[in-house]
């Protein structure tokens, strides 16, 4: 399992870079006491707060403290609510996951078959039709899509709630809005990757062995074609979490994305820092899983690594 170990070390390094960049960027962006303290606070009080926040110490000390704080799971307190940012974020994370995971699932469950169907009959009317649809899905921004959905399904048809959480109908529009771009990119990638694989010599050999098209495609082609698709699915985790920010705003969804938007508006740096780190960690971990998955799918990858 040196392969997994190797990937994990790389992931940890990547995360460390993110942490360092985030730390540097926030420390370079000015004095947060101006954002925390109420109007016309005397300089003395600011001084006190700066001391409390440890902002008066050398940068290196702050960095080391910051890292050791992270190691202890202390990601700081919100400038505004004063609560632990971890606690606040974790409270809101389920709502985002409730949005992002179904979207991912939807994207995989719809995107893979669409891409496969399109690739099996390239340039047929079915292929062209599906690809045109996915094309539109990719080109239309999700906030536009969300608004159109609300106008159509909530205001005009009055079939689905316009936003907020609650029963399962509340999920339909936001999940769809968030998922459509991913459906589009997964299906387009599946198609091109599958077409690529279908042009490979071993597919010709498999056909020469007399295997039926279903086996040729599902057993032989798809498994190979999935490798790049899997990588993109890993990247979709990030895209979806990022996209959730906008979709949460459009559908008044109480997820972590809106927490972060609020943090941006309030310059709540500890919150923002943790948000960026948490999302980065999620994406990086997802990618480790994807890489390991690729390794399981393709024995060559593990061989190359060890």
């Amino acid at each position: 399992m040196t392969f997994v170990l190797q990937r994990s070390i790389r992931a940890a390094l990547t995360l460390w870079i993110v942490v360092t960049v985030v730390f540097t960027a926030t420390r370079m962006s000015g004095d947060p006491t101006y954002h925390i303290l109420p109007p016309n606070t005397p300089e003395v009080k600011r001084e006190v707060l700066r001391h409390q926040l440890g902002l008066d110490r050398p940068l290196v000390t702050q960095y080391v403290d910051y890292l050791s704080g992270l190691a202890d799971g202390d990601f700081g307190h919100s400038f505004f609510s004063g609560r632990m940012v971890t606690e606040m974020y974790l409270e809101r994370l389920p709502a985002t996951l409730n949005l992002a995971l179904p979207s991912l699932l939807l994207a995989i469950l719809i995107g893979l078959p669409i891409g496969t169907i399109a690739a099996v009959k390239p340039n047929s009317p079915v292929d062209r039709g599906l690809m045109a649809l996915t094309f539109v899905g990719q080109a239309v921004p999700n906030f536009v899509l969300g608004i159109v959905f609300i106008l159509l399904f909530s205001l005009t048809l009055r079939l689905l709630p316009s936003g907020g959480t609650g029963s399962w109908p509340h999920y339909i529009l936001p999940v769809l809005t968030l998922g459509i771009a991913s459906i589009a990119s997964i299906s387009r990638l599946t198609r091109s990757s599958l077409l690529d694989v279908l042009g490979q010599d071993y597919i010709r050999f498999v056909r020469a062995k007399g295997l039926p098209p279903s086996k040729v495609i599902i057993k032989h082609a798809l498994r190979n074609a999935l490798l790049p698709v899997l990588t993109v699915i890993g990247l979709q985790v990030g895209t979806l979490i990022g996209g959730a920010v906008v979709v949460e705003v459009v559908f008044a969804w109480p997820g972590a994305g809106r927490l972060l938007v609020a943090a941006v508006m309030q310059r709540d740096f500890p919150m923002l820092q943790f948000g960026v780190l948490a999302v980065a960690a999620t994406v990086i971990i997802a990618n480790v899983f994807v890489d390991v998955g690729c390794g399981l799918l393709d024995p060559r990858i593990q061989a190359r690594a060890s």
């Binding site: 990547t14 870079i17 370079m28 962006s29 999700n142 536009v144 920010v245 923002l272 999302v279 990086i284």
Partner: protein, 304 residues
């Protein structure tokens, strides 16, 4: 090609001439475009033209208000010709705002893409040409960037720096740099492994000559394709930021900002939102279509 087969003494002039013929031949590619692609290309050219000429075309200034004629419908919904696309909540002419918004959006997207191409291209070039260790480090950086979703990255950057067009350009540009870096790096690695590079070295070409005469031209096509494809995602990102209210700030406007402002009038004046939306979608669709086609063209050129 056989037309200029008989080159005799005036070789160099004829060489130059035939090079021009060659580029015309490339232009032929464009004349052989499918109708849809041609439409996309024409759309893009028109939009750019309109954006460039916005100050001349716009019947009003982008901020001119007439509070007494607020929220007028466009002519096709019974509005007056004085405001062909109607007016917004401040009585500003939607057509004029649209032209200026288009201009802002296209400028930010173009400059953003250029920033992305330059930073990403240089990083990728350095990574691809440098040794294994530097390459590894670059790729770690790229990985780190890729692990933070674009929207979040842009939000964080806005939070740190505040919002201004320049910041926006840098953000949308740099936030895409990892894609360029990756593509350029892999392309450099591909080109580096091509025999013609070795051949040039064997002829005694300096590293600079190899880089500029042999490697760089090979990057133009993929970079163009990628820049085209990314252009639409940059437009979307800028629009999303402006829509969230952290992008272009009033009284300046962009397509996304127009949509953001129109959000509150969706029900009473849906045209206000529909018009910028139509243009956002038009840009992203046209540009993506063109990008897709360019990529196919490029792939075909590579494979044949």
């Amino acid at each position: 090609m056989s037309v200029h087969g008989q080159l005799v003494p005036e070789g160099s002039r004829l060489i130059a001439l035939s090079k021009r013929m060659q580029s015309l031949l490339q232009w032929n590619h464009f004349r052989r475009m499918p109708a849809l692609i041609r439409m996309a290309a024409v759309t893009i050219v028109m939009l750019c033209l309109v954006a460039v000429l916005a100050p001349l075309l716009a019947p009003y200034g982008s901020g001119d208000q007439d509070l007494l004629v607020r929220l007028q419908p466009p002519v096709f919904l019974g509005g007056a010709w004085s405001h062909p696309l109607g007016t917004d909540h401040l009585g500003r002419d939607v057509l004029s705002r649209l032209l200026f918004a288009l201009r802002t959006t296209l400028i930010i997207a173009s400059l953003g893409v250029i920033v992305g191409v330059v930073t990403g291209g240089l990083a990728g070039l350095a990574s691809g040409l440098a040794g294994r260790r530097i390459d590894n480090m670059f790729m770690l950086l790229v990985d780190a960037q890729a692990s933070v979703p674009l929207t979040l990255l842009a939000l964080a950057a806005v939070a740190l720096t505040g919002s201004s067009p320049l910041v926006l350009i840098l953000i949308v540009g740099i936030s895409e740099y990892d894609k360029y870096a990756r593509v350029v790096r892999s392309q450099v690695l591909v080109i580096k492994s091509r025999t013609f590079v070795e051949s040039a070295r064997a002829l005694g070409a300096s590293p600079l000559r190899v880089a500029f005469r042999h490697v760089l031209p090979g990057l133009v096509s993929p970079l163009t394709v990628l820049a085209t494809i990314n252009f639409s995602s940059v437009v979307i990102l800028e629009s999303a930021l402006s829509f969230l209210g952290v992008g272009i700030q009033p009284p300046n406007t962009s397509l996304g900002a127009m949509l953001g402002e129109a959000r509150n009038y969706l029900i009473s004046n849906w045209c206000l939102a529909a018009i910028p939306t139509a243009f956002i979608v038009m840009i992203t669709m046209a540009v993506s279509l063109l990008g897709d086609w360019l990529r196919d063209l490029f792939d075909r050129r590579l494979s044949s």
